[in-house]
């Protein structure tokens, strides 16, 4: 659908090549879904388009919880955190987002995005606070100064404020735009599911297929911490190729962060207690083990799509990320153990789209090689989850079928074979996705 629109707009001469590429960039994580967002995290509103406001709601019923209510979700061999809460059985509102954008003038734009995402905790309390995901001011520069390639002008963009990361499309994965209701292992384990932080971004924005940039972060977003030596920065490059019915994207990124006494804020990190379990059940206190040290991630994202008719397409997406950590685990009791970690995760996602139907498969795998040393290595490693005693290799296979019932409403059902924990689990889901424009500003973009 996106490619069809692109060709149509090019034919009509409505938008420039650079702007067209901007739309397709947003569609990477949508896996070909026709409800790709208008106002995405990296959407740059058009001049004269007025204020644009989009909203999305995703609700999903699941047949099983990934862990019991009074257990912690800790994938063996990893240090998790951020907002990577386990999915729970029953009905869950996975996501509520409202995003607005406005082009103030030829060179300035503003964006605001609010989000509520599914949480949940060991105690059963829901963690569903409203989060400001974007609140940024952007500047566009040099669009017509001839720095571009051939007939296409280069577009340099600088943004500052609360931003969502642009270095990997993995982190654009809202459940309303992804094929699956559950984020990937890369997003959950390496980035704590979401990445919104105060920072700044400078990039060459989708010029002749290229997006190249750098971002610097205050460090609030997992896996970093703010203050002191905390903080993070990244660089990225992505190239998109469009030819007839074929669309390909290839990107690479490098991210580095400092963490100071980083906690797993899902369960610990502050004043914490053993959750009170009802009679007959037991609950244990979360071990508040912290990590201090360096975190370096690098990754590659790729996608290929072929659209053989106006209503049908097929493609495959791939994401690979490697995490290295060099630091120490420690606790409030003065225990400390050195940690060197090499972990990688990968997923492959082929999909097939025909009319209102989208069928996607995702296969994921995570491998952790951690080296712990020190008198408390075993104790802290086991408590923190870094010690993978059994050598278990987390993996997961997911199958999703999405039916686009109305332009703004879709139904999704999934089957998931989850082997991220040592006890394998199968679960299925049924959900509804609403994603629409509340205020279009009199100028329509995108795929519906």
């Amino acid at each position: 659908m996106m490619l069809t629109l692109t060709g149509r707009l090019q034919t009509l001469g409505v938008v420039s090549g650079a702007k067209i590429l901007g739309r397709t960039f947003c569609g990477f994580m949508a896996a070909g879904l026709s409800y790709a967002p208008h106002v995405s995290a990296h959407f740059i509103p058009d001049e004269g388009a007025g204020t644009q406001v989009d909203a999305a709601v995703v609700a999903t019923w699941r047949s099983a919880s990934v862990v019991d209510q009074y257990e912690f979700w800790q994938i063996p061999g990893t240090l998790m955190g951020g907002d990577a809460y386990p999915v729970t059985s029953g009905l869950s509102v996975d996501e509520v987002t409202v995003k607005a954008a406005r082009r103030v003038d030829a060179n300035t734009f503003v964006k605001l995005g609010l989000g509520v995402h599914q949480g949940g905790s060991q105690s059963g309390d829901e963690h569903q606070s409203v989060t400001v995901e974007h609140a940024s001011l952007g500047f566009i520069c040099c669009e017509t100064t001839g720095l571009g390639v051939g007939e296409i002008a280069a577009e340099f963009v600088a943004e500052i404020g609360v931003l969502s990361a642009a270095f990997t499309p993995e982190l654009l994965s809202h459940r309303s735009t992804a094929s699956f209701s559950e984020p990937s292992l890369i997003a959950d384990v390496f980035f704590g599911r979401h990445f919104h932080d105060q920072g700044a971004r400078v990039w060459l924005h989708e010029t002749a297929g290229w997006s190249v940039g750098a971002e610097i972060w205050q460090g609030k977003a997992f896996p970093s911490t703010e203050g002191g030596d905390g903080g993070a920065w990244d660089v990225f490059a992505r190239y998109q190729f469009d030819r007839d019915k074929l669309n390909m994207t290839l990107g690479g990124w490098w991210y580095t962060a400092d963490a100071q006494s980083r906690a797993d804020h899902r369960y610990g990190g502050g004043h914490q207690h053993t959750p009170v379990a009802p009679p007959g059940e037991s609950a244990s206190q979360f071990p508040d083990i912290r990590y201090t040290g360096d975190v370096v991630l690098l990754g590659v994202d790729a996608s290929m799509a072929y659209q053989w008719t106006a209503a049908s397409s097929m493609g495959v997406q791939l994401s690979w990320a490697q995490l290295t950590m060099d630091g120490a685990l420690h606790d409030s009791g003065g225990r400390e153990a050195a940690l060197e970690a090499d972990q990688y995760a990968v997923w492959v996602q082929p999909y097939l789209k025909w009319q209102q139907h989208n069928l996607a498969v995702r296969v994921e795998r995570l491998v952790a090689d951690n080296r712990l040393s020190g008198a408390s290595a075993a104790t802290l490693g086991e408590s923190a989850g870094a010690l993978n005693v059994s050598g278990h290799t987390p993996q997961r296979a997911s199958l999703a079928w999405t039916y686009q019932w109305r332009p703004q409403t879709a139904f999704r059902t999934e089957w998931i074979q989850d082997e991220t924990l040592e006890d394998a689990q199968s679960r299925f889901t049924v959900g509804v996705i609403w994603h629409g424009s509340l205020l279009s500003g009199g100028h329509s973009h995108g795929g519906y």
Binding site: H273, T274, P279, Q285, G333, G334, N370, S373, G374, A375
Partner: protein
């Protein structure tokens, strides 16, 4: 891959579960079974006192987890100790010894106080009698053998200049070896009442575990994995005799040593292991039962209506901030006590390994 850098290595059989880190061994007094056994004989030997009537075991009874069951013990000269006898359970895991002295970091340092101290006098050993006392030890054939076994690197461990030093190290080794991790709690055999009590113990309402945390139920716990631990002492609002937070002299806790007014009434968190058999409670043994301890905490401090120690500990300016009043029903008190009772290691209380060796030889000292 895990490299614990020898954290589980020791010549001594600590009898500690794999899930519990091993204690720190002093470099100048590494643990050996021979020293442990020598220390056990010395611990129970009343000859190590000015009047031949006081041994370490006089105030540290095995059946009471090496406490003594009375409010305050009496020394060899009749002097009453201002402090309650602490249990010696898992002493090896404390980062400082005694109730309120942040300077006592090793068991060997602590042992010098009851043996040779004069404020108060406990064993009453001093310059006037120490030679005579060690001579009684030297004359015992059992000790001649035990000292040679315990200190094989020394030519003359019993008669040489290091004899008293060896006495202290041996007793220190015995006390350090008193490990206890075989309670119903450790075995996961809690009753329904104890499980409810455990939840209360860790609840937002009661806050018990903030100070009594970890495997030894004390925030003053140190082991081989702990790089450094700040001294941790707490004022629990037990006294407020002048309305300004004062504790009765000389029992002012950490303040007694440091002189820092902010340290008034601060005492080290005792372990709760075997706590059910170590009554009476608190640093001066002034609280008779666990139930009473819990109710003092529930009130946010102790109120003493009459007498020389009258005062409202709830409003002490030195009281630890974590101590806030909470509501608790009688049934919940029972549950909490049941949980604390589940921390009793009954095997520890009767284990022949820690018992009086002189009884088995017919010499009841």
């Amino acid at each position: 891959m895990v490299d614990d850098e020898g954290a589980r290595e020791s010549e001594f059989d600590w009898r500690v579960p794999a899930s519990i880190p091993l204690p720190v061994e002093p470099e100048d007094n590494p643990m050996t079974e021979a020293k442990f056994q020598l220390g056990r004989h010395l611990f129970y030997d009343a000859r190590l006192s000015v009047n031949g009537e006081i041994s370490c075991a006089s105030c540290h009874h095995q059946s009471k987890a090496f406490s003594d069951g009375i409010q305050r013990p009496v020394g060899a000269t009749g002097e009453v100790h201002p402090r309650n006898s602490q249990s010696l359970t898992n002493s090896a895991y404390f980062n400082n010894l005694t109730w309120g002295n942040p300077a006592l970091a090793t068991i060997e340092q602590q042992i010098m106080l009851p043996l040779f101290g004069d404020n108060p006098i406990e064993h009453g050993i001093d310059e006037s009698n120490f030679e005579q006392i060690i001579m009684t030890v030297q004359a015992d054939e059992t000790y001649q053998r035990l000292f040679l076994n315990a200190f094989p690197e020394q030519d003359d461990p019993l008669w040489g200049d290091l004899a008293w030093d060896n006495v202290v190290k041996a007793i220190g080794s015995f006390v350090r070896g008193m490990t206890s991790f075989n309670s119903a709690f450790d075995r996961g055999e809690l009753s329904a009442s104890a499980r409810r009590g455990e939840a209360l113990f860790n609840s937002e309402r009661l806050e018990c575990f903030h100070c009594h945390d970890g495997y030894n139920f004390s925030d003053a716990t140190i082991d081989r994995g702990v790089a450094f631990l700040e001294p941790k002492f707490h004022n629990t609002g037990l006294y407020n005799i002048d309305g300004m937070g004062a504790y009765p002299e000389p029992n002012t806790g950490r303040h007694e040593v440091t002189g820092n007014p902010d340290h008034m009434g601060q005492f080290r968190t005792p372990s709760l292991r075997n706590v059910a058999v170590t009554a009476p409670y608190n640093h001066d043994g002034s609280v008779a039962t666990l139930e009473e301890v819990i109710r003092n905490y529930a009130r946010g401090g102790r109120v003493i209506a009459t007498g020389e120690n009258a005062g409202d500990g709830r409003i002490s300016p030195f009281k630890d901030g974590v101590l806030v009043p909470f509501r608790i029903s009688d049934a919940e008190v029972d549950d909490l006590v049941a949980f604390l009772e589940s921390l009793t290691d009954h095997n520890f209380l009767t284990d022949p390994r820690f018992s009086n060796p002189w009884e088995s030889t017919g010499e009841n000292l």
